[in-house]
């Protein structure tokens, strides 16, 4: 005889605004699993939770800030990174995490993304890439694969997408990884590494959006997309991000691509001030 079990508590409840549950995400969406990885990564990284600030922009992933029980900011579309830049420079002791979607971070906010990577500001950016604008009903964007269908590319997308790890690595990020939400353990470990890594860390998380992206691209259930990740993914740590381009149904190269050391924005700022003091210019 099966016994009915009611779960009153979850080990990660203390990180969640449980009074806001149920969340708004669709069944089969990958943002929830990715948020779970983030929360477990905080525990794994053993950092002071009171010093973590989560900043999100607009869109489905933009809602992450509202569900985590941390100092959290739900800002405007595309502007999570510059808001986070002010937070970090206002108090360098904060551990600042930007958690947002591909449309938010890469399309409307693309300029801020490359400039913050260039500065190597100490910040972790988690980018859920579901290849489309989910919140507004499935439009194409800067990450939509060539030929993919969307409500604004009804005959197929005729634009090339960004290869995010390549873009961000070229811009100067010191930690760059890509995982799918199928790779929960790798993703959790990767986020934990990024949280304690000084400098600009960027993690792309390939994530299903069955309701609007999958449905338009012959992957109508979350499981269909997950299965396709299983079939198409290949782990290549240390791969050249240039070779990690994504397509509609080709290989998904995942792994940790970049993990290098370079002085952060704050390090450089302090070095310059120190030199000026020695030269009695400051």
């Amino acid at each position: 005889m099966t016994k009915m079990v009611t779960v009153d508590e979850n080990p990660i409840d203390s990180f969640i605004r449980v009074d806001r549950i149920p969340h708004i995400w669709c069944a089969g969406c990958g943002i929830g699993p990715a948020t779970g990885c983030f929360i477990r990564a905080i525990g794994r990284a053993e950092i002071n939770q009171d010093k973590i600030s989560v900043v999100s922009g607009i869109g489905c992933t933009g809602r992450v800030a509202g569900y985590v029980k941390l100092d959290s900011f739900h800002t405007t579309h595309g502007r999570a990174i510059p808001f986070a830049t002010g937070l970090k420079l206002g108090n360098p002791e904060l551990n600042v995490v930007v958690f947002s979607g591909d449309g938010d971070l890469v399309a409307i906010g693309g300029n801020h993304l490359i400039h913050s990577a260039r500065r190597n500001i100490d910040m972790t950016v988690i980018c859920i890439n579901n290849f489309n604008y989910g919140m507004t009903g499935g439009q194409m964007g800067a990450t939509t694969p060539l030929d993919a269908r969307s409500t604004t590319s009804p005959y197929g997308n005729f634009e090339y997408p960004f290869n995010l790890p390549y873009l961000v690595a070229a811009s100067g990020a010191t930690y760059v990884a890509r995982w799918t939400v199928l790779h929960v353990r790798e993703l959790e470990k990767s986020i934990a590494e990024a949280l304690i890594k000084p400098g600009f860390s960027f993690i792309e998380v390939i994530s299903p959006c069955p309701t609007v992206y999958g449905r338009q691209n012959k992957l109508p259930r979350g499981l269909d997309e997950m299965r396709s990740y299983q079939e198409r993914s290949i782990i290549r740590d240390g791969a050249d991000p240039k070779d990690a381009e994504l397509s509609l149904d080709g290989l998904i190269v995942v792994g940790k691509f970049v993990d290098i050391d370079r002085p952060t924005l704050w390090d450089c700022y302090q070095q310059v001030l120190e030199r000026a003091r020695k030269q009695r210019k400051l």
């Binding site: 605004r17 009074d19 806001r20 939770q49 009171d50 010093k51 600030s53 900043v55 800030a65 509202g66 029980k69 941390l70 100092d71 959290s72 900011f73 739900h74 800002t75 405007t76 502007r79 990174i81 510059p82 808001f83 986070a84 830049t85 002010g86 937070l87 970090k88 420079l89 206002g90 108090n91 002791e93 904060l94 300029n111 801020h112 400039h115 700022y269 001030l273 000026a276 400051l282």
Partner: protein
């Protein structure tokens, strides 16, 4: 903090520099900006001065980023400012609205130049006065101060910070190219902590803290990041907990409070100065650089025997409704010189409500009025 680096004494400096020094005296320790004529000197001064005071200057990739960065810094507990001109001011509008919605203290300086678009980058105008009032979407109230001299660039920057902290709002300093670039004597007093206002801070334990506790009055206490309050704030319509609340009721409650905290405190916020209004039959109403010429024209009219008064708006938003209404019942006309084709004159006209005429003396920008132009308008209205 190396306080000895804060200036004190008499200086000969331009308005932009005085603005930067005012910010420093006000306790501003974060500046994010993007170069733009004629406001660049504010950024240049801050880039030099903030590192001397343990503060941070950062040049962002654009004005959108600059506006967001000062909001972020303010939530980290630092007094923050940006400075720009028309094109950059346009780019800042969406996130000025975010500042209003999150109730974030900060100061935004607009050293106005002539537009629309790129316009006359190096020449004066006052064409952004209505943009200052209504530039971001949605219904809100804003506070805008208008300096008429380098001295006021200093003084009003401090007032701007104090108002921003007191009411948890972005405050606009609506300067202009002439005031920003002219050099005059600026007296910098020793500013003491008693002269400065800090945002209301929570006194309750984190588990009892509500970021937008409307029971705490119109201006709820503000936690800052990293102190353990674990708060959430959002640009969405939200409830007292800071949680999104997608209802007309939540919208009603929130927008009323955001507007009322300024409307109901208008007396505390509104500043103006007057001369010779008691017996006046015509009053010249002006602001910023235009007011300096208008004052001269009004004096000339007095010398010619006309009963002319002068009113300079120092706070333009919220508008000095009550005072203009009072004066409207005593005078024949208001003469309103401004460097645009009619913006603040509409406010004067609204308050005059048909009791007195409101006569615009426009200038399209690129220069300032000739006193004779204003004097001629005064003569016609007195007649």
């Amino acid at each position: 903090m190396p306080q000895e680096n804060i200036l004190c004494g008499e200086f000969f400096m331009n308005g932009d520099t005085a603005c930067a020094e005012g910010a420093i005296s006000a306790g501003c320790r974060f500046f994010a900006g993007y170069p733009i004529t004629p406001a660049t000197e504010v950024a240049e001064r801050m880039a030099e001065r903030l590192p001397q005071l343990g503060g941070v200057f950062i040049q962002m990739e654009d004005e959108i980023a600059s506006m967001n960065a000062i909001l972020g810094a303010s939530w980290a507990g630092v007094k923050a400012m940006t400075a720009t001109s028309g094109p950059g001011f346009s780019l800042m509008m969406e996130n000025l609205g975010l500042g209003v919605m999150l109730e974030t203290p900060c100061v935004v300086v607009n050293v106005q130049r002539a537009g629309p678009s790129t316009g006359l980058p190096t020449f004066v105008a006052q064409g952004d006065m209505m943009q200052a009032r209504w530039g971001a979407h949605g219904h809100y109230e804003i506070v805008a101060l208008v300096p008429d001299s380098p001295q006021e660039m200093f003084d009003l920057t401090i007032v701007a910070f104090n108002l921003s902290e007191k009411y948890r709002i972005p405050v606009l300093l609506m300067a202009d190219e002439a005031v920003g670039h002219m050099s005059e004597k600026v007296v910098i007093p020793r500013v003491t902590p008693e002269d400065l206002v800090d945002r209301p801070r929570p006194k309750v334990a984190p588990e009892e803290y509500l970021p937008y506790d409307s029971k705490k009055g119109l201006v709820p206490p503000m936690a800052i990041a990293g102190e353990g309050y674990r708060f959430h704030v959002t640009g969405l319509t939200h409830d007292d907990r800071g949680y999104p609340s997608m209802t007309a009721e939540a919208q009603d409650k929130l927008v009323r409070r955001l507007v009322d905290k300024i409307r109901l405190n208008a007396k505390d916020i509104i500043r103006y100065e007057e001369a010779d209004v008691e017996d006046a039959e015509v009053i010249v109403v002006s602001y910023g650089i235009s007011a300096r010429i208008a004052r001269y024209a009004a004096q000339q009219a007095r010398d010619e025997g006309m009963r002319v008064g002068f009113l300079r708006l120092i706070t333009v938003w919220p508008f000095a409704d009550e005072r203009i209404k009072e004066l409207a019942s005593k005078v024949k006309a208001f003469v309103v010189p401004e460097i645009n084709y009619g913006q603040i004159v509409r406010e004067v006209e609204r308050c005059a409500a048909g009791k007195a005429r409101a006569r615009l003396v426009p200038h399209m920008g690129g220069g300032v009025h000739l006193p004779e132009t204003i004097l001629e308008a005064i003569r016609e209205e007195v007649r």
